[in-house]
């Protein structure tokens, strides 16, 4: 070492560096923490007057509706997802190779799109019943789609892929060997399914079902199409209809409690996943060969789900879109696309960048408080958009009023009127709170694959701090960063309630357009913007199916 004076780094300077990084991390997590904090405060400070109103007129209906919906959709999605996963992973029947990945396609279709197609197609004035009346004179025997059963059915068809994906993974990895062991012990395939395969896959099925439950609790667009009152629509109406910030906040607080229950359930089942993974993926087990009637039934079932959940809706969407393309494919439509892409693009860049920093700081200074902070900040994904939008807007309106008051006393009448709540920054903050986990998870798992010695090797060669991030981590994380950005982009494109509540006046996106057209019952005019959303949504679905092929 050269004889230059060497500065030693004492505990104090290290402490300063650590607390500086902690501050930066806290700053990054703040947008995700504030709304949770604001809404949770409302849980503990209920306002008597609002509560008595809510308890009498709103809560009974909304709570019953929400619970019925969550239970119905969870049961439906668990049954549908698990049985389809078992069919495609352990049986052989005509079309199995295609169904295997195609059954994931409904992921590309947001619930609200499927909802308005179902209502538009099956309603009294829709094409099906019109044709029935023409052919048979009456269609009054036809069950109404605008019912509890209808909304449960639609959400089941759009959410079952979560269960399908996880259960299939479980069956493919550990079910086979265990099933073979059970067979050598004298069990028939059917007995083995009930006694061994299903119990072993239970943590995955529960985790998938919990995800479905959380998505159902968060859903706004689908229930809005059906005029089915749940917490999310009640919050929206309290916000816009009654202009009661506090009522919206109280409702959001109650919904948050439900979400926590589903979240805890999901966490607990996830914890079990670790103990039950099998390593032996190499061996191709013999599939159960279905023949004759059984094979036909299996193919038909899979085809029916795929047809109802994806193929037919997309066809209907295309037909409607073409019918309207001539008149609707105008400058306004391109403005919707531009707005959507701008919002989704900036959210993707901001959230991916922030996720990288958060994951890096957690890795470098991963003390217990740091890890806890990161866990809480990435919980936003489980929280419904309506809740987060309210949680972000309430403090911003408060800030706005304080600033306005200060400005008025300072400048008097000449003071300009502020409107912080109607800016793009507010929408992006709310997206940040909701989708931080979407960007963070792929980056964190990518980072965890880089061993600690890689960092140390770079440091001994002089690349520490930002140089380490720039020269080693970022190049190694290129795929993870792309995945994170794409997932955030697509999620923001589909997002409806945050955009509706927090967007600047007149800043309409594709999803907002879909909402406006469907609330007026203009199904055909909603089709064009919806088609664009579905097309973008196919990207992550394709990514998932590609990964699925590697597993299989």
């Amino acid at each position: 070492m050269s004889a230059v004076a060497v500065e030693l780094e004492g505990p104090r300077s290290r402490g300063v560096r650590n607390s500086r990084s902690f501050l930066l991390l806290l700053l990054l997590c703040l947008p995700a923490l504030v709304p949770l904090f604001v809404v949770l405060t409302a849980v503990f400070t209920p306002e008597v007057e609002i509560w008595s109103h809510l308890a009498r007129y709103v809560l009974p209906v909304v709570t019953t509706n929400t619970l019925v919906l969550v239970v119905g959709v969870s049961v439906g999605a668990a049954l549908l997802g698990t049985s389809l996963a078992w069919l495609t992973s352990t049986c052989e029947f005509p079309g199995r190779r295609i169904f295997e990945w195609a059954l994931l396609l409904p992921l590309a279709m947001p619930g609200y799109v499927l909802a308005f197609i179902a209502v538009g197609f099956l309603d009294f004035t829709g094409p099906l019943q019109t044709w029935l009346r023409g052919a048979f004179g009456s269609s009054s025997w036809f069950p109404s789609i605008r019912s509890t059963g209808g909304v449960i059915l639609v959400l089941t068809f759009s959410l079952y892929p979560y269960v399908y994906l996880l259960a299939r993974g479980a069956f493919l990895t550990q079910g086979r060997r265990a099933q073979e062991a059970a067979r050598t012990l004298g069990m028939t395939p059917m007995r083995a399914l009930w006694r061994v395969v299903l119990p072993m896959a239970r943590p995955w099925i529960v985790a998938g079902t919990a995800l479905v439950a959380m998505e159902t609790l968060a859903d706004f667009g689908t229930v809005a199409v059906f005029n089915y009152d749940t917490f999310t629509t009640a919050i929206y109406r309290a916000w816009f209809g009654m202009f009661s910030v506090n009522a919206a906040l109280e409702l959001a607080a109650v919904l948050l409690v439900f979400v926590f229950i589903a979240f805890a359930l999901e966490r607990r089942s996830r914890a079990n996943l670790r103990f039950a993974t099998a390593r032996d993926l190499s061996r191709q087990a013999v599939r159960i060969e279905l023949r004759g009637v059984r094979a036909v039934v299996a193919s038909l079932c899979a085809a029916l789900v795929l047809g109802l959940g994806f193929v037919l809706p997309v066809l209907q969407l295309v037909v409607w879109a073409f019918a309207r393309a001539a008149s609707d494919l105008d400058a306004r439509y391109f403005e919707f696309i531009l707005h959507s892409v701008l919002l989704a693009g900036s959210a993707a860049i901001i959230i991916t960048g922030a996720s990288l920093l958060v994951a890096y700081l957690e890795r470098q200074y991963g003390s217990t408080p740091v890890r806890a902070l990161v866990r809480i900040s990435t919980m936003g994904y489980a929280v419904p958009g309506t809740v987060l939008a309210v949680g972000i807007l309430v403090p911003i309106i408060g800030l706005n009023n304080v600033l306005q008051h200060g400005l008025s006393t300072w400048l008097g009448d000449a003071a300009p009127s502020l409107l912080l709540q109607g800016t793009l920054a507010t929408v992006l903050l709310a997206y940040f709170a909701r989708f931080l986990a979407v960007g963070f998870n792929p980056i964190e798992s990518g980072l965890s694959r880089i061993t600690a010695t890689i960092d140390e090797a770079a440091i001994t060669l002089g690349a520490a701090g930002t140089a380490l991030l720039r020269r080693v981590h970022v190049p190694l994380l290129r795929t993870s960063l792309m995945t994170a950005a794409i997932l955030v982009f697509v999620d923001v494109m589909k997002e409806m309630p945050i955009t509706l509540i927090a967007r600047p006046f007149g800043w309409d996106t594709l999803a907002v357009r879909v909402f406006e057209m469907t609330s007026e019952g203009e199904w055909e005019r909603a089709a064009l913007p919806a088609l664009a959303i579905v097309l973008v949504g196919l990207i992550p679905a394709a990514m998932l199916t590609r990964r699925g092929e590697h597993v299989a």
Binding site: M1, A3, V6, E7, L8, E9, G10, P11, T451, T453, I454, E456, A457, A458, I459, T460, L461, G462, A463, A464, R471, V472, P475, L476
Partner: protein
């Protein structure tokens, strides 16, 4: 002194991983810390590299303090190169990019020249544009060495560098690594649990146990003049035979009186354990002293016999392999130690 550790200690919770560690390494020398797993050798290495802070003592390189309790120079500014147990090659960079990684201060031409020079030395010139995963284990090992040496570090640390390789490759590479280090005049410190590796690569070896240095000496001295019973046990094979000191340089044992060469330091009347290596016990058909063969291991050129004395005590003997004796046979032996080592009997 090029590298100097003075009374260095590192404690994790209540467990002292390194305790009162002191040694010195001269410029251009290759040192080695040898010991069973968990003896603190890797922690010592990480303290020198700067990845661990120290709780007591001083680490100095060329008289400059690298670490003291509560104060430490960050690893990236210590001018210390390191070869990691898992190699830690950068998977996104080619061989030459890996080697050039630490050469940020050089101009483009200088960098290319230095990389070419090192790849020449480790014999990988034709692999420069390949990625780590396209190389064999031995080649990856050499890239890691070249990468650590490229910035001309003051000291190179090698943490169990051969443990991921198979035995044959390990032996060949340890010879190669020594010649590369010597060729470039590098000062190096190796950590390993394999004495063969330590003896092949290092000029001077320190045997560690429970965070302490038992002995810091040349491989020859460690084998023939072990300072402690642990070193005698850990290095090489051998048995301890009970004996009574009869004069300052003679010990009476079951196999006769053994004379010490050099000045004896033992008091007559003392009971001692005498270290007998397999090469100290010779096979001699003419000898009146016999022992029973109770186990034998054929090693090609020689047999390693385990012999039982009338008292039940065991001896090991290395015998040319044409002396083929069956188990249960009695064979004649002669004791002829080059260096007699005895430790006071622990009751």
């Amino acid at each position: 002194m090029w590298l100097e550790l003075i009374d260095v200690a590192r404690t994790f919770g209540t467990r002292a991983a390194v305790n009162g560690l002191s040694f010195q390494l001269e410029r251009g020398a290759i040192g080695c810390l040898l010991g069973p797993s968990g003896c603190g050798k890797t922690t010592a290495l990480r303290c020198i590299a700067g990845f661990e802070s120290i709780d007591a003592g001083t680490i100095r390189a060329q008289g400059t303090v690298l670490a003291q309790p509560g104060r430490s120079l960050p690893p990236e500014r210590r001018h210390i190169g390191m070869v990691f147990q898992d190699l830690a090659l950068f998977p996104h960079l080619t061989v030459q990019e890996n080697v050039a990684f630490g050469l940020t201060r050089l101009s483009r031409d200088e960098r290319a020249r230095r990389v070419g020079e090192l790849l020449e030395v480790v014999g990988l010139s034709d692999r420069r544009t390949q990625y780590p995963h396209q190389l064999s284990g031995g080649e990856q090992q050499r890239v890691a060495l070249a990468r650590a040496l490229a910035p001309k570090p003051d000291i190179v640390l090698l943490d169990e560098p051969f443990s991921s390789l198979d035995i044959e490759l390990r032996e060949r590479l340890s010879v190669e690594v020594r010649s590369v280090l010597k060729q470039l005049g590098a000062t190096a410190l190796l950590v390993t649990h394999d004495q063969q590796e330590a003896f092949t690569v290092a000029d001077v070896v320190g045997v560690m146990r429970d965070g302490k240095l038992e002995q810091w000496a040349t491989p020859y001295d460690l084998y023939h003049r072990p300072a402690t019973r642990f070193v005698a046990d850990f290095i090489g094979q051998g048995v301890f035979l009970l004996g009574d000191v009869v004069s300052p340089n003679a010990v009476q044992t079951e196999v006769g009186v053994v004379h010490m060469n050099g000045a004896g330091e033992m008091r007559p009347g003392q009971r001692v354990d005498l270290l007998l290596r397999p090469d100290d016990v010779l096979h001699d058909d003419a000898s009146s002293l016999t022992a029973e063969v109770c186990a034998r291991a054929f090693r090609g050129a020689e047999f390693l016999y385990t012999l039982k004395l009338p008292s039940g005590a065991r001896l090991l003997s290395l015998v040319p392999s044409h002396h083929d004796h069956a188990i249960g046979e009695h064979i004649g032996i002669r004791i002829e130690p080059d260096h007699v080592v005895a430790f006071e009997r622990e009751e």
